[in-house]
Symmetry: C2
Subunit: 215 residues, 2 copies
C-alpha cells in the first residue's frame, strides 16, 4: 500500500529454505510438502527449523539459563529507533572497537544499532564464520546505554566454539535481545529509522523473525 | 519504545506451542530442545510446524496450483489500511452476508477487512470448526474491491471437508492473501488502522506470521 504517512518498508530478512546455511550444530532446515493439490485439493508444507535460523532474534535465555524467554518481549519492546554503524573496514575475525559507536549522547537516544560488517555478502560461503565481532567493551557500552545489537553476521561474538560469548552475555545480561543475520542493509540510508523485529510468537530461546525498517 | 509518531502496536498473533490446535490434517506442532545449557552452554530449540499453523497467511498457491507463492508478496503488499467488521451476531456455521460489509465507497478505500466472528474465543474447543464463514457473494465483493480478508476463525470458508472453498478461491483468485486465526481483536477500536502481516520469509503456500495493528 502507499502509507498515509509516506513511510516505506524495507525488508532486512533472509529467505528460509531447505538446506540453507545455519550456525554450526543448529538443526538442518527443511521445507517439505505435506498436503498437495493432487491428493488433497490444497497445498500445505511442513517446516523443520531451529529457533536461530536465518534472520532471527536471540532472547536472553539463549545464553543465560535464568534469562528471559521471548514471551517477555512485547512487540513494543522489539520496535527501536535505530541507526546503522558502518564497520565494513574492520577485517575478518577482527574486533569492532568502541570508537565505532556514536557518541554517548547519541547512543543514549537510540534503541538499537545495526552493525553493517559487510558479512551479509559472505552468506553461504566458507568465510561466513570469519566475520568481525564486537569487542567486549563495545558490547558493554551498548548494554549500558540499553541499546540492542543487530548484525548482518552470524553473531556479535566470534563464531567459534572457543568464544565464551562476551557480547551476548553483556547484552542479554542487560535484558536486551540480539538480532542476527539481517541483510539488505544497502537499502538503508545512514540516517535513523524505525526498526521492527517480528519473531514467530514462541516462548523460546529465540525465533526466526521478519525484520522491517520503516523509513 | 515510545514511537515518535505516537503510534501503538497491538499484537493480533497466537502463541505457537507444542500440541496447539491445528486445522484438521495439518502437521502437529512441536517445540523441542536441541542445544541445552547443561550440555552445550547455550540453548536452541527445534521447531516442527505446518505453514498454516496458528495465526498465518495463505498465499494463492494454497488453493490454486497455478497461484502465487509467498515470495510474490513484498512486505509493502502485506501492509493494509484496515477496519474491523463486527459479525459476532452471526450464528455458528452460518454465512456472513454482504450486508456486513462497509458500503462500496468505503470498501474501495480499504486494503483489508478484519472479520471479528467472536470465534477467537473458541480456540482449542470442540466448537472451533463451527465458525461463521463468508458467503460467496461477500468474498466476491472483497475480491472485486481488492480487499484482503483477515479472520479470527480457522477459515473464511466452512471448516469441513465438503467445502470447495469459494471464499478462498475468490480471494486468492484475485491474487489476495488470506489471514487466519488472528486474536486480540478486542484491543482494536472500530476505526481504521494500519495492519502489517509479517510472515516467515518462505517461498511457500503460506507461513505463520506475526500480525501487527498500528493504531
Amino acid at each position: 500500500m502507499n502509507a498515509a504517512d509516506g513511510s516505506e518498508l524495507i525488508d532486512l530478512t533472509r529467505r528460509i529454505e531447505s538446506g540453507m546455511p545455519t550456525f554450526p550444530g543448529d538443526p538442518a532446515v527443511r521445507v517439505d510438502p505435506h498436503a498437495t493439490h493432487e491428493r488433497d485439493g490444497y497445498r500445505v508444507s511442513e517446516l523443520r527449523l531451529g529457533t536461530h535460523t536465518g534472520t532471527h532474534v536471540d532472547a536472553p535465555a539463549h545464553v543465560d539459563p535464568a534469562g528471559a524467554t521471548l514471551d517477555s518481549f512485547a512487540l513494543e519492546d522489539l520496535r527501536f529507533e535505530a541507526r546503522v554503524v558502518n564497520c565494513r573496514d574492520v577485517g575478518p575475525s577482527a574486533a569492532i572497537g568502541p570508537d565505532a559507536l556514536p557518541d554517548s549522547t547519541a547512543l543514549d537516544d537510540l534503541g538499537a544499532l545495526v552493525f553493517d560488517t559487510g558479512w551479509a555478502d559472505q552468506w553461504g560461503t566458507d568465510r561466513m564464520p570469519e566475520h568481525p565481532f564486537l569487542a567486549p567493551e563495545t558490547a558493554r557500552r551498548c548494554a549500558d546505554a540499553d541499546v540492542a545489537v543487530v548484525t548482518d553476521a552470524l553473531s556479535p561474538d566470534p563464531s567459534d566454539r572457543e568464544s565464551d560469548l562476551p557480547a551476548h552475555r553483556a547484552l542479554c545480561g542487560a535484558g536486551l535481545p540480539v538480532v542476527e543475520n539481517v541483510c539488505n542493509l544497502d537499502a538503508l540510508s545512514m540516517d535513523g529509522f524505525e526498526l521492527l523485529v517480528c519473531p514467530l510468537r514462541i516462548d523460546a530461546d529465540g525465533a526466526p523473525a521478519r525484520v522491517v525498517a520503516r523509513v
